[in-house]
Amino acid sequence: MSWAAHLPLAPILLPLAVGALLLLFDERQHKLKATISLASALYLGAAALALLEGADAAAARVYTLGGWPAPFGIVLVVDRLAALMLVLTAALGLAAIAFSTARWQRAGPRFHALAQFQLAGLNGAFLTGDLFNLFVFFELLLAASYGLALHGAGTARVRASLHYIAVNLTASLLFLVGASLLYGVAGTLNMADLAARLPALPASDRGLAEAGAAILGVALLVKAAMWPLGFWLPPTYAAASAPAAALFAILSKVGVYAVLRLWLLLFGAGGFGGELLVSGGMATLAFGIIGVLASQELSRLAGFALVVSSGTLLAAIGVGDAAVTGAALYYLAVSTLGVGAFFLLVELVERSREPGADVLAVSAAYLALDDGEGPEEEVGVAIPATMALLGLSFVCCALLLAGLPPLPGFVAKFALLAALLEPEPVPGAAWALLVLLSLSGLAALIATGRAGVRIFWPAQPRSVPRVRLLEMLPVAALLGACLALTVAAGPALRYLQDTAQALHSPRAYVESVLPPR
């Protein structure tokens, strides 16, 4: 095999190796570590784009580890959805790592190694074609995320992480129960093989298989932060350091991805659990709306914006219509990039403010602005017109979250609603989702508007935060990527519609992994 044939392995092996390598260097060699880490993230981006370029709508690209054919060997599967998620991961990883080099990498030890392990876990979870390896990569990305959530230490982070770790460990145990139940019934862990075998199960085993899938689903939905399983998300993400939180923006999407992939593969659209996904997604959406309106700190607002996007995605996926799924995938890309940029921006905006300036009492405990930032050390160029740039980025983020034109948040919501209202007659759930989606936009607009007025038009003159070019660039790049998604909305939506079509007819996926004998 030529080197290019091994490309699907690179997004997993490279960050693992780089992460291990970074452990060897002394903490004082910041520059060297940052350079290696950035180079790795850049390469990941290039590899992900190459995989996306080569991803075919009709058939998935299958990489058999060690040449053992599925279902006996372990496979990596690159289809369009996996490639899309890889690109999003690389974009957020690159932005977070670049952001951290200005300042945050010095807030605690081994930031870059943890970030690389996180990327390896994320990429592995998106690429694997095997339920147990999905578990292993989940654990890898969670283990790294525990370290990243604690990065910078401080009481608030440790307290939030304690809950985060306990909840996710329990969810992982549920994952194991679900996966082993499915194995016990179907005798395989390969996703494609499961998809082929489940319909042929005798009726007596059917209930057991569905119970296993349901337990597995609970574990995945904890990660996707579906109500009532997602209470851990906003405090943890609000307490985490900015670059870690930006990376976490894709973490909850791993749960959504796994639900989308496994549900459509194992049960097909409209199959077992679809209504639950719709109602659970709408409940999550409602919870997120209330949370967005109630948050007084920007970082909590960003966390609830993530809950809103999870709810929207789960509900849209649960509808089980290929057109809706395609629009949801566009929304996924936009909201991941947008919320990631927002997490980074929040830290920049909040930097100059008195800790607790806009906090009304109760939530002061979560504020950890003054933690872990050692003596200031100028790195890079401080940029002029800081407030204007920050304000502009803030407006962009607000428009993205609220789904207003001209940014792609609008295109995403419009595409979703158009697809929802297409069938005749329009189902009741679609109307409910429409109302909730519009309300979520309104809530985001009110909350960001309120925060923006407080921050950018204060009554007393305030000190301007010192922002370096290296910190502004990642935010600008993420927002620029969103803007590019608006400009190229037509081709992007068409591409994602094809992706959704392929997901809704999983025969091609199954036949790519298990060639008919």
């Binding site: 654990e139 283990a143 440790v158 194991l176 082993s180």
Partner: protein, 114 residues
């Protein structure tokens, strides 16, 4: 055989869940360990439990695969044990840090009146 194993898994999982819902961090750690033992045994049980049938291969007699335990769940259990062991160690470190920073071993970092 099955009944004994099922009872053991149930007892472990039940007590683990109860401890998991307790307010002290150490109880949570012990609860998580107990649940993970239950889950490990559960995975093991998915590979078919049977007694009194030794997997001998005899010359001239056709091999009967029903006498062999499924090796895959055993491999899965090994992986799961290693992972849950490492995660418990990590949680213990966080627990100690939380105890040191907040001065209490309550999971919320502060005593509640209830």
């Amino acid at each position: 055989m099955e009944a004994v194993l099922a009872l053991a898994i149930g007892a472990l999982a039940g007590s683990g869940v109860w401890l998991l819902l307790r307010p002290r961090t150490f109880q949570v750690v012990v609860g998580l360990s107990l649940v993970s033992y239950a889950v490990n045994l559960f995975i093991f049980a998915m590979g078919w439990v049977r007694g009194g049938a030794a997997p001998f291969v005899q010359a001239g007699v056709p091999v009967d695969p029903a006498r062999f335990a499924d090796p895959l769940p055993q491999a899965l259990v090994l992986t799961a044990i290693v992972i849950s062991f490492a995660m418990t160690a990590l949680l213990l470190v966080v627990l100690l840090a939380a105890r040191g920073l907040s001065g209490t071993d309550h999971v919320d970092g502060r005593e509640t009146d209830a």
